[in-house]
Every structure is written in structure tokens, then in C-alpha cells.
């Protein structure tokens, strides 16, 4: 019975520690991470809403890789970020090893076309109340149309991790749009 008690304690501890660690890591990024604005891109209306979250797509999620080493689909890479003249984030460089900087995102290559690499960024969804989600979808598509720069997702980046702080449409946080 003693062995069982030790295993029980270890299991319960693991069941608490694992989610707590997820929270701690993300709270750390939200508190100390650098802020970047990623301009939203239009999505297929059918894909804009799945369940209770809005599917996000951002512009500038590809990069022309001119390095010598072969990069394959699904390979882990590190994206160095920079801000353009409008304050929106873009990918400045791709590294195959983690850099000694804070302003990078660890991600994987989604697919490539020639030298152009496309990435799965770790902020592709924004969870919403399911009753507000249809309206959110409509607003998202309205502010993300081509040629407009009215939508962006505010992301905190720290040592490879990226956490969404909020989704802004028309210059206002999305939660604020529903309060009105």
C-alpha cells in the first residue's frame, strides 16, 4: 500500500504541476515578453470559425530562405522578428539553431515552394464565447480585407515562445467591440 501512496501522490502532483507549468510559462511571456503587432490576413469564411475560436491568419508568415542547408517540411526553425515603419512585425531572418536573443519565435516549417518557406505560427486562434463568435468572424473579415491595415493580433514574444495578448480590430480590442 505504501508504494501505491507514493505513486498516488506523484500522479496528483503531476496532474497539478503540468497545467500550472503551462500557465507559468505563458504568464512569464505576457509579463516580460516584447510586444509585436502581426497584421491579420483574410481567411476563408468557412475556416474563419471553428467551434468557439476565430481562426487567425497573419501576413508576412513566409520567408525566402537562401541558406545552404536543406530545410524540410516539419523542421524546427527560429524566426528573428523585426518591426517595419508602421510598427508591424515581419520576419527578418531564419535560423536553424536558437539564437541568444529574446526577439525570436520557435516554430516549424509548414511547407515550402522553392526557396520560399511558410510557417505555422503559434498564434493561429483566438477563443471566443460561442454566441459572440459569429459577430467576431464578421468583424474579423471586415477589418482584414486586402489593402486594409485595420486588424492585428498583439503578441508577446520571449525566448522562442509567443502568447496572444489580444486581437485588435479597427484599433480596438475585440472584447471592447462587444461591450459597446
Amino acid at each position: 500500500m505504501d508504494n501505491k501512496k507514493y505513486i498516488l501522490v506523484a500522479m496528483v502532483a503531476a496532474q497539478i504541476i503540468l497545467p500550472a507549468n503551462m500557465i507559468f510559462q505563458r504568464e512569464n511571456v505576457l509579463r516580460y515578453g516584447l510586444t509585436y503587432r502581426f497584421e491579420t490576413a483574410p481567411v476563408d469564411p468557412y475556416d474563419a470559425l471553428r467551434g468557439r475560436y476565430v481562426v487567425l491568419s497573419v501576413k508576412n508568415r513566409s520567408f525566402e530562405y537562401k541558406g545552404g542547408k536543406e530545410v524540410v517540411d516539419g523542421q524546427t526553425v527560429y524566426l528573428l522578428l523585426e518591426k517595419d515603419s508602421d510598427g508591424y512585425a515581419y520576419i527578418k531572418d531564419i535560423l536553424l539553431q536558437p539564437p541568444r536573443l529574446r526577439n525570436y519565435i520557435k516554430t516549424k516549417v509548414s511547407y515550402k515552394r522553392g526557396n520560399q518557406l511558410y510557417f505555422d505560427l503559434p498564434f493561429d486562434r483566438f477563443y471566443m464565447n460561442e454566441y459572440k463568435a459569429p459577430k467576431a468572424e464578421e468583424l474579423y473579415r471586415k477589418f482584414s480585407r486586402e489593402g486594409k491595415k485595420d486588424g492585428y493580433v498583439l503578441v508577446r514574444v520571449l525566448n522562442g515562445a509567443a502568447v496572444i495578448e489580444d486581437l485588435y480590430l479597427g484599433g480596438k480590442p475585440i472584447s471592447g467591440l462587444f461591450d459597446n
Binding site: 496528483v12 497539478i16 497545467p19 500557465i23 505563458r26 505555422d120 477563443y127 502568447v163
Partner: protein, 439 residues
């Protein structure tokens, strides 16, 4: 504590004991009254277990719905604290059952699956609170690893079943995401000590787990094979199905237990299906060492595990095949010989110009399986086996038949004739069986 399996064995022996004069009819009735109705108690226990599990699942889902209703009005801190509640409550139930050493199957199974679901719900809620995206495979594996101890703490089969299904799903997602699904094997080994202990202590209660192991391993083999050497899957699957089938038949001859049933029944179906697939030409094309995959998409070291799986499966298949032949079990040995036929098939024409010969070899093998089944069924007066044999023969004839350019009328006549033969064989055998029973 009374042992249900022993009582059930005793009840099976009572008619012969009365017939031989060892016990009087009256004594046999008193024995039955003393031990009671085993079947109905088991059914009541099963019903209790099912209701407990359903109740546990509803409680878990209801708790989640309550939180979801007022979610938007809560701060991130409040949501985070609430997200932990399902895990804390269900862990409390588990601790109660373990510390108090509760023996109720319904309680152990119910609390076990409740805790598994609640931990998954907690992680899901945190994912939503922090808008964490993608990587479902990481979520799955973490969830399973922190809940698998429930299998041993509560001696519960339902968590073991759920675990096996989820890690099989994980293997599929991992392979799709260009990960390494080969970790499925050590992960599945975690519940094997529990399964073996369960087979020994509660052999008749292990059917579902046996079936899950067979099916999940079948899927996992396909997912985990790196396929650096094309065509290796033919040997791996034939050895695996033969090993499973022969293991089931060998153990069922030693002890009359239900845990072997899935291995026997699913095994024989799998062997017939595989043999049917291999009777085509396409599995034998572009295979062998000349087509070895060297692209960066194939991981050479993961390919080594293909050979490990093959060696283990082949070892058990050959061992139990030898035991089966020694016991002169022709029917079982014929089906268990599929890996040997696969080796001949690869040697005959795998990957080269004569790949069609390998297909014909398996057509001949399948035909022989059908004939052996028919003869065994007639000899042992088992209508089921005879019908299996007729179905196999019909399948082979139709498959080869469909390859030729023949008119619709001709096909219709052949189908009608084959169906009539099928029915006639059934009628004749049924009469023969009835005639034998009547002396």
C-alpha cells in the same frame, strides 16, 4: 471471496457429475442454491459499472458547461483557478478510492475515467484561456502520461483502454506532423504488466482489452513503420497476425478463457484480409532492396525499429506455429503459415519482373485456406468454419474472375451458380450435423 470463474466451472461440471452418479440431482441443486446465480450477479455488476461510468462522464461534462456559461465575465486569474477544479475534485475521488482500498469495480472504473476526462478538461481550458494553438499530439501524450498511473492505482481497465486508444491516436498525429511515432511501443508497454496480471486474475474480463490491443497494435504498426525498405510491411503484418492468432489458439487450448477470443477471431479475419490483399499484384511492385529509400524524409535510425518489430513478431509466430504443428492442429497451422508464404512470395517475385507470380501464390494459398476450412468444418461438423471456407473460396474465385473481360450475363450466371452451391453446401452440412446428433 468467491471466485466467479471457479463457480462457473463447477456449474459446467455438475451435469456430468450427476450423469456419472458422483452427485445426486438433489445435491447438485443444493450446490447451485448455495453459490447462487453467477450470471445475474455479473450482469448486475456490469450494469452498475456502466451506470457509474456514464454518471461520471455526465458529471464531468456538466461541470464544464457550468463554467462555460459565465466564462466571459471572469478574469484570467479566476478562469485559471476554475480550470483546476475538475482535476482537484476528481483526484480527491481517486485518493479516496485508493486510500480506503475500495473493491467496488463500478467505483474504481468510474473514478478512473472521471479523473482522466477531468485532467483533459483542465488542460483544454488552459489552452483556451491562453489561446494556445496546435500541437494536439503534445497535449495528448502529456495528458496520457499523467493519467496512466490510474490503471495501476485503481486496477481499472477502462483507463487502460482509453490510454491505448489515445496513444494510438497520438502515434497517428505524430507521424502526420513528421514526428516519431516509434515511441508508441515503449508507451504501450506501460500497461502490459496490468494486462498480463488481469489476464491471470480475471481472464474472462479481459476481452475488451485484448481486442483493443490487437486493433491498436495493428494500426500502430502501419503508423510506426518507417518503410525505409519498401515491402517490409508484408513480412511484418503477416508475422504479427500469425503471432496473434496462434497465441490465441494455443492459450485457448490450455485454458478455457474469454481473453483469447479476440486474438483468435480478429486474427483469422486479419489473415484472410491480408492474404486477399497480397493476392493482388500491386503490393509486390517496387519493393525490395533495389528500392531502398534514402531520401531525407526517411529516418534511417527509426527504420531499425521496423526490423525489431519484425524479429519479435516473427519469433512468436514461428514459435507458436511449431507448437501448433506438434499438436497436429492442421486448421490453425494453415492460417498461421502466412508469414512463411510471404517469405516465398518475396523470394519469388517481389519488386522484380515476376511480381505477378507472388500474387498468384497468395491466391493459391487463400484457396487452400478455404478448402482446408471446408474440410475441417465437415469433419468436425462445425457449420461456421465450413461457411468461412466457402466464403474464402468464393472470394478468391470472384477476385480472379473480375480481372477478366466477361459479359454481364455470364457474370450473373456465375454468381447465381456460386450462390446456389453455397446454399446447397449449407443445407447438406446442416442435415449431416443433425443426422449425427440424432445418432
Amino acid at each position: 471471496m468467491k471466485k466467479t470463474s471457479a463457480i462457473r466451472w463447477l456449474y459446467q461440471e455438475l451435469p456430468s457429475l450427476v450423469r456419472e452418479g458422483v452427485l445426486s440431482d438433489d445435491a447438485a441443486q443444493r450446490i447451485k442454491q448455495y453459490y447462487g446465480d453467477v450470471g445475474s450477479k455479473n450482469k448486475i455488476q456490469l450494469a452498475l459499472t456502466i451506470f457509474a461510468i456514464i454518471g461520471a462522464i455526465w458529471i464531468g461534462l456538466g461541470i464544464i458547461l457550468l463554467f462555460a456559461h459565465n466564462w466571459d465575465m471572469l478574469s484570467r486569474l479566476q478562469r485559471t483557478l476554475l480550470a483546476f477544479l475538475p482535476t482537484i475534485i476528481s483526484s480527491g475521488f481517486v485518493c479516496f478510492a485508493v486510500i480506503k482500498n475500495k473493491q467496488s469495480v463500478a467505483m474504481r472504473e468510474g473514478f478512473g475515467i472521471l479523473n482522466m476526462i477531468c485532467v483533459g478538461a483542465t488542460i483544454s481550458l488552459i489552452t483556451q484561456i491562453y489561446n494556445i494553438s496546435g500541437d494536439i499530439s503534445s497535449f495528448l501524450i502529456a495528458w496520457m502520461l499523467i493519467t496512466v498511473p490510474l490503471v495501476y492505482l485503481l486496477s481499472a481497465s477502462l483507463p487502460a483502454l482509453f490510454y491505448l486508444i489515445c496513444i494510438t491516436l497520438w502515434a497517428g498525429m505524430s507521424q502526420y506532423e513528421a514526428g516519431q511515432a516509434v515511441l508508441f511501443w515503449p508507451l504501450s508497454a506501460i500497461i502490459m504488466p496490468y494486462y498480463i496480471k488481469n489476464v491471470i486474475k480475471r481472464p474472462n474480463a479481459s476481452q475488451w482489452l485484448s481486442a483493443a490491443i490487437f486493433l491498436c497494435y495493428t494500426v500502430a504498426i502501419g503508423l510506426c513503420l518507417e518503410q525505409v525498405l519498401p515491402g517490409l510491411w508484408i513480412l511484418v503484418y503477416s508475422a504479427y497476425f500469425a503471432a496473434m492468432y496462434l497465441t490465441g489458439t494455443w492459450w485457448s487450448d490450455k485454458v478455457s478463457s474469454l481473453w483469447t477470443v479476440p486474438f483468435r477471431k480478429l486474427g483469422i479475419i486479419a489473415i484472410v484480409v491480408l492474404a486477399h490483399i497480397l493476392s493482388s499484384y500491386w503490393p509486390w511492385e517496387n519493393i525490395g532492396w533495389y528500392n531502398y529509400h534514402k531520401s531525407v524524409q526517411y529516418v534511417s535510425w527509426a527504420g531499425l525499429f521496423d526490423y525489431v518489430v519484425l524479429i519479435v513478431a516473427a519469433f512468436f509466430a514461428v514459435y507458436f506455429l511449431i507448437q501448433t504443428v506438434k499438436r497436429r492442429k492442421d486448421f490453425e497451422a494453415a492460417f498461421g503459415a502466412i508469414p512463411i508464404v510471404a517469405v516465398f512470395g518475396l523470394a519469388l517475385g517481389g519488386g522484380g519482373k515476376h511480381s505477378h507470380l507472388s500474387g498468384w501464390l497468395f491466391s493459391a494459398y487463400l484457396l487452400s485456406l478455404g478448402v482446408i476450412s471446408i474440410l475441417t468444418g465437415v469433419r468436425e461438423r462445425r457449420l461456421g468454419i465450413t461457411n468461412i471456407g466457402i466464403l474464402i473460396v468464393a472470394m478468391v474465385i470472384f477476385s480472379r474472375f473480375m480481372e477478366f473481360e466477361i459479359g454481364i450475363i455470364t457474370r450473373a450466371v456465375v454468381f447465381i451458380f456460386a450462390g446456389a452451391c453455397f446454399l446447397a453446401a449449407n443445407v447438406a452440412l446442416s442435415k449431416k450435423i443433425k443426422g449425427g446428433e440424432n445418432g
